[in-house]
Amino acid sequence: MSTVDTAARAGQLTAEQVQAGEALPELRIPITATLIVTGAIATRDFQKVHHDKDVAQAAGTPNVFMNILTTNALVNRYVGEWAGPAARVGRINIRLGATNFPGDEMVFTGTVDSVDGENVVVKVVGTNSLGPHVTGTVDIVIPSKGESA
C-alpha cells in the first residue's frame, strides 16, 4: 500500500497512476457548529435539528448534528481533491453511522477498490470519536494520460 503523492491534489491524476489497493491521503475535517449549520442551509435543509440547539436537545440529541447532504458533499470533496478536476463522479453510495456533533473531528481515509481502464471505485470511511460516521463507495472516471490536457 502506497500513499498517492499529495501533489495530485493540486493537479490531475491519470488512470495509469491509480492502482487497486493504494490509499488516498487522509483528510481531517473539524466538525464545528458553523460547518453543520452552513452545510444544512447551503443544501436547503431547514430541519431545525441541524441549526437550532434547543430544538435538537428537545429531540433528545446533545447538540445540532450534520445532515446527510453535507456528509455527501464532504465525501464528494474528499475523493474529488484526490482525483483532480478532470475526474467525473458517477456514483456516491454511503452508509450512515455515528452522528457528527460540534467539537468532534471526522477523519476521512480511502482505498482504491478497483481500477478498470478509466473506471475507478474508491472505498471511503469518515470516522469521528464515536465511530464510523460514513462508510461508502464512490465510482469515479479518471481520464487516461492520452486524454488529459
Partner: protein, 172 residues
C-alpha cells in the same frame, strides 16, 4: 398494535405512485458558491468557467453530490401528501415510531450546469421487515427519486433507505 405494514406498503410499491416536484430555482451560480463556501470545496470546475471548460464541461458545474439540493422542500410550502409520507406515517401507526437514515445511494448521469431545471419523482421502491436490529425490531424502507432535466432526460437517481424501529422491542 399488531397491524402488518407489509399490506399497505406492498400496495403502494405495486401502485408506484410518485410525488413529483419541480425545483423552485434552476441550478445557479450563487447556490453553487454557497455550497462550496460551506463545504470548503475548492475544485475549480465548480467555481471557474475556464477550468470547467478545460475539464470538458460547457460551464461551471454543480457538485454532483448536490443532486438532491435543487428540489428540497421550501420551508413555507404546504405539505403535499404522497405515498412516501403515508408509508412513513403508517409505520409509526403500526408501532415503529423511531427513524434513522441508513443508506443514501446517488447515481449521476451527467453533471448539472446553471440553467438546468430539475423535476424530482419520488416513490416507495422496496420494503423489508420485521427485522431485529441493534436499535430494536424494525422495517427498512427504500425510496427511489428520479431526477429529470428541462428536456425530460434523466440526470440522476437517489435511493434513500431508512429504518423505522421500536426501541422497546429489543432482544437483550
Amino acid at each position: 398494535m399488531s397491524q402488518d405494514p407489509n399490506v399497505l406498503i406492498g400496495e403502494m410499491i405495486a401502485a408506484g405512485n410518485e410525488r413529483i416536484s419541480v425545483a423552485r430555482d434552476e441550478v445557479n451560480r450563487p447556490m453553487i458558491h454557497h455550497l462550496c463556501d460551506a463545504m470548503e470545496e475548492t475544485n475549480p470546475i465548480y467555481l471557474d468557467p475556464e477550468a470547467a471548460r478545460a475539464a470538458g464541461h460547457p460551464d461551471v458545474v454543480a457538485p454532483p453530490s448536490a443532486l438532491q439540493v435543487w428540489n428540497m422542500i421550501n420551508p413555507s410550502d404546504p405539505e403535499i401528501e404522497s405515498d412516501v409520507d403515508r408509508a412513513y406515517a403508517h409505520l409509526a401507526e403500526c408501532g415503529y415510531p423511531k427513524v434513522v437514515a441508513v443508506n443514501c445511494d446517488q447515481e449521476y448521469d451527467r453533471y448539472l450546469v446553471p440553467g438546468d431545471l430539475l423535476t424530482a419523482s419520488e416513490k416507495v421502491e422496496s420494503f423489508v421487515g420485521p427485522k431485529q436490529t441493534g436499535l430494536g425490531e424494525g422495517y427498512f424502507i427504500t425510496t427511489l427519486t428520479t431526477y429529470t432535466d428541462q428536456q425530460g432526460d434523466r440526470v440522476g437517481t437517489m435511493r434513500f433507505r431508512t429504518l423505522w424501529y421500536n426501541p422497546e422491542k429489543r432482544n437483550s
